[in-house]
Symmetry: C2
Subunit: 442 residues, 2 copies
């Protein structure tokens, strides 16, 4: 694991900045303080967004190949109109009857396998995972949680405690167990599922021997913070079955892969041929409006809901629902996931072509429009690979293209454009990546 | 403590409902399930809101004397215009420079005592309290949390575990200690602070003897879920000092009293003459938009922020900031808290007049526009007082006025109108309450 937990960030004094930016940063530091880290060595400053583009105060355009929250693009007029229209009519809470809440809940559930027929709304992906853990612990009677070794699942106390990605300063729960992934461990694809299952079984054994028991396997099915380890499809199925056998629930964290990111499916878990017990939603659900959800099987959802008095003031309010409803309508009507899959193939072949020409590109992995591109030649030391990834990201930023890094060594480029990305944007991105590779690796 | 955790709710089969509502409820139950409880014996169904009023599908108006989220009234045009305008320009996240975030953070901090000079944004009050607990535990090195005996602080795993209000089904943390309040215990005001301090000192002693230590005193300074125990001002000061002496932090949960609810002050803790270490904000901050914050002293905020990698995707996004900025502008420009204080005096004297005429009103307490009105004659059994409160709330609902209940026995009317309430609304409310009392108590 890298020692710097957010390598791609601004460090005071490291870069010469224009007065406008350095003054704003000074004011920002004084009132927002150390929690608020800025991306890039030279932070970006945006005042306008539209579709795939963000604009700085001088009108310079930056191509966004990083943000998955505005999945339909920045400032989508139809989504914003739905939000504004609803805000002008009523923002009801869920303790009152309001048909839109029920209509949208039914529409959302229809996108899931039949077994998943209940939904509870939240405001953020962290709230979704936090609630899913509460439900899993309540329904199973156990405490243990199994996650991947570099997982990130949220910012609440309970989710941060099962997020090894956050590093040493954030204490892990005594009841969390981390499992290695076959990909980073160098296990061939044919043995990947067996390797993963063996890791899971060993974690279950340990949790049981300590009387903790297993409440849940909590996984992002594209393992985005571990470095985008998407293959082979089916990889997690036997491990998930082992967890259910042991009395635990399977929670699919769809904050990253959900809502068509993987192209071929609406939900990432479908790629692995499993039906989880609980599914957690967040980021792209409202194209930027704070809304999330837990979707799940009736049994654990009702067991929790009937006994624990759960309510969430803002969650499910009609404005958020109307916004999310517009997002789902557009995703389905305009076949956004299908188009994203097609465009991801264009991006994939462009990246492979670059990889063949540059020894600096070690490997490329993707599921739909979520790409991980490993930087640094085979056999290069971890620190050099990492420095190279950071150099490429910052060269591209200076060139007007936004991406960042991921993975245990943060040497994997994280490429995750809004789903409305077109071929022309892919070509601009590929040209910029090539320029950056030449600049960085020579 | 009452056995039914949400007495004022719909129970299937208890009330005859029109087909339109019963069908909507059946669909709602099928997809949202048991977590989603409806208020009132006969649920309300709203399709439009404006100022102090909510409207059902038949155009019947209901006077809202319950909702503090739309503090400036339902569907405030100026707030909504600020939200829509910003959504059309940019919804930036906090990893990019954006001046509005810094401008608003500075304006918000100016409303606090000088010692409180840092802010971190969240999306909900639960997220605010969850983060404040993380900061307090990190900064103190201790785990223990002291709360009032019927406190509610949120819906995340960590906040629910310090919320005895949620009842037996939600397990309390082994490190939480509950303290009794002087008011419900019948302690005279002159001894109230000493009583509270003694309770706190005893909790600290117990936490220290078990090696848990005290991380925080977490309190809502108007004790709204305990039954609105607001007096005497200063009540909590010596207890808070004892916590700080013992190495713990004082967290003021301002989700209920904050943003001028108490009229005389912007923040509830000011009424008690204390400066907390951390302050948590939520509900009214965005007049319905999901936004919250933790405001605090530099030392614990920086200690946490510099080491723990905290980030929250939606929190501090420019649309939420622009919305909250409009709310703060209107609160200050139109002197909403000052007007709320004046109107609260009109409401208070009306309630006192009613109390003199009806033995069913036992006591009235308020801080600004947050009122608790105890139902049932002195000496009446708890169950009878509680039934009476429930009958009054539902009679008023049928009469077109919205309130609910609070307190350990849920026999206190919770009266908490939007802050823009006018004298004419108070008169309508008082007339309805009087009709309900006559109907219920005879």
């Amino acid at each position: 694991m890298s020692t710097d937990l957010m390598p791609n960030r601004y460090r005071p004094g490291e870069s010469d900045l224009p007065k406008r930016e350095s003054e704003l940063i000074a004011r920002r530091e004084a009132v927002l303080g150390a929690s608020y880290r800025l991306q890039y060595r030279r932070p970006v400053h945006f005042v306008r967004g539209e579709g795939m583009w963000l604009y700085d105060p001088d009108g310079r355009a930056y191509l966004d190949f990083y943000n998955n929250v505005p999945c339909l693009g920045h400032c989508h007029p139809e989504v914003n109109a739905a939000m504004a229209e609803q805000a002008g009519r009523i923002s009801a809470n869920t303790r009152y009857l309001e048909p839109k809440l029920v209509d949208y809940a039914e529409r959302l559930i229809e996108t899931f396998p039949n077994e998943l027929d209940r939904v509870v709304f939240t405001c953020t992906g962290s709230e979704s995972n936090d609630l899913a853990l509460r439900i899993a612990r309540f329904a199973s009677g156990n405490e243990g949680v199994i996650v991947s070794s570099y997982a990130y699942h949220g910012t609440s106390a309970a989710t941060a405690a099962v997020s090894p990605n956050l590093g040493d300063a954030v204490k892990l729960s005594p009841s969390v167990r981390m499992v290695s992934l076959p990909g980073p461990a160098g296990v061939p694809e044919a043995q990947a599922a067996d390797f993963f299952e063996a890791q899971i079984r060993s974690a279950i054994l340990d949790l049981n021997r300590r009387g903790i028991g297993v409440a849940a396997l909590l996984i992002d099915s594209i393992f985005s913070s571990d470095g985008v380890w998407v293959d082979p499809p089916g990889l997690i199925a036997s491990g998930a079955a082992a967890v259910r056998e042991a009395g635990g629930l399977v929670i699919a964290d769809e904050v990253q892969p959900g809502f068509g990111r993987t192209g071929a499916h609406m939900w990432g878990f479908e790629r692995h041929g499993i039906v989880p017990d609980l599914v957690t939603l967040g980021k792209p659900m409202g194209n930027g409006f704070p809304i999330g959800a837990v979707v799940g099987r009736k049994a654990p959802m009702e067991q929790f809901g009937a006994t624990s008095r759960y309510s969430n003031t803002f969650a499910g309010n009609t404005v958020g629902i109307a916004t999310a409803d517009a997002v789902l309508t557009i995703l389905q009507r305009d076949q956004i996931p299908q188009k994203a899959l097609a465009i991801s193939q264009h991006l994939r072949s462009g990246l492979e072509k670059i990889a063949n020409q540059h020894s600096g590109v070690r490997a490329t992995r993707n599921a739909g429009l979520f790409f991980g591109v490993d930087m640094g030649p085979e056999g290069a030391p971890a620190a050099r690979r990492r420095a190279m990834a950071l150099d490429v990201v910052n060269a591209m930023r200076d060139d007007g293209v936004l991406i960042s890094t991921t993975g245990a060594n943060e040497d994997t480029l994280k490429v995750r454009p809004p789903l409305v990305c077109q071929a022309e944007h892919v070509d601009l991105f590929l040209a910029s990546l090539e320029r950056a590779l030449i600049k960085v690796a020579g």
